[in-house]
């Protein structure tokens, strides 16, 4: 199981207003709200937590094959500048955090010793974000490999109609795209 999430910080500034009434309360636990309000950069803290939750959600959906919108159930803990964990019920996901002035990229895995490949890249064609993100991921595989999402939106790779045994995840937001996949058989 693997999940990744990209936030374009420039776009996040205009696309959402984290200071809107109810915004924090609906999506963040009390502890997270405190951390945001006490942070030197509350805006960045909001989107770091959000990205961690979203990456963990993608892992969780791969495992449980059910969609829902409950960001508050995903409880974030930041361990260092590059690591965190997200817990939902009894499930714990390890998060690798990549932060820059322009984006946040979170990678979620259940077992952090699993080998994986991930990337973050700039996309300059606004209308083709999904296609370009998929192409970057597919460039690691043979020409015949295709990407399809199932009915709950979980992506899989197929080679001549046969599903490949890797977990994959794609994400894009604004000018940035990212992906991650496991190198070991998982499915």
């Amino acid at each position: 199981m693997i999940g990744n999430d990209v936030v374009d910080l420039q776009l996040a500034k205009t696309q959402s207003n984290w200071q809107r009434k109810g915004f924090l309360e609906k999506q963040f636990t009390l502890e997270e709200q405190q951390a945001i309000l006490n942070s030197k950069n509350p805006f960045l803290q909001v989107w770091l937590f959000w990205s961690m939750k979203e990456a963990a959600y993608k892992c969780y959906v791969q495992e449980h094959q059910k969609r829902f919108f409950a960001p508050k159930k995903f409880k974030c803990k930041i361990l260092s500048n590059t690591e965190g964990i997200v817990q939902i019920n009894s499930f714990i996901y390890n998060i690798k955090i990549i932060l820059s002035d322009f984006y946040v990229h979170s990678l979620a895995v259940k077992n952090k010793n699993k080998k994986m490949v991930s990337a973050l890249f700039f996309i300059n064609k606004k209308s083709l974000q999904t296609k370009i993100t998929n192409q970057y991921l597919l460039s690691y595989f043979s020409d015949e490999v295709r990407l399809h999402k199932n009915e709950v939106g979980v992506p899989f790779l197929y080679h001549q109609q046969k599903r490949l045994p890797f977990s994959i995840s794609t994400s894009h937001h604004g000018d940035y795209g990212g992906f991650a996949f496991t190198l070991e058989n998982e499915l």
Partner: protein, 83 residues
């Protein structure tokens, strides 16, 4: 309020967040906020907050969890309005 009136109100609410014009024009009860309208998941909470403001209701966490489609949103709004 009829279901048609609810759908029209919902359409106004989601318009600022949609990223697929075609799906928006053809919006029905079966339309999915994320898969069809391509609403960014970070904007789903804005839809929830706008629905609360527009209908003067409170959407609890359990209801919010299900609010991924027009159909689910309508069910939740109808239930809260009749409560």
């Amino acid at each position: 309020m009829t279901k048609e009136e609810l759908i029209i109100k919902l359409q106004v609410i989601v318009k600022p967040y949609i990223q697929d014009e075609e799906a928006f024009k053809n919006l029905t009860e079966e339309t999915d906020f994320i898969n069809d309208l391509k609403i960014n998941s970070a904007n789903l909470v804005d839809v929830v907050l706008d629905v609360e403001d527009e209908f003067n209701i409170e959407i609890d966490n359990d209801s919010m969890e299900k609010m991924l489609s027009v159909k689910a949103a309508i069910e939740i709004i109808e239930k809260k309005l009749s409560a």
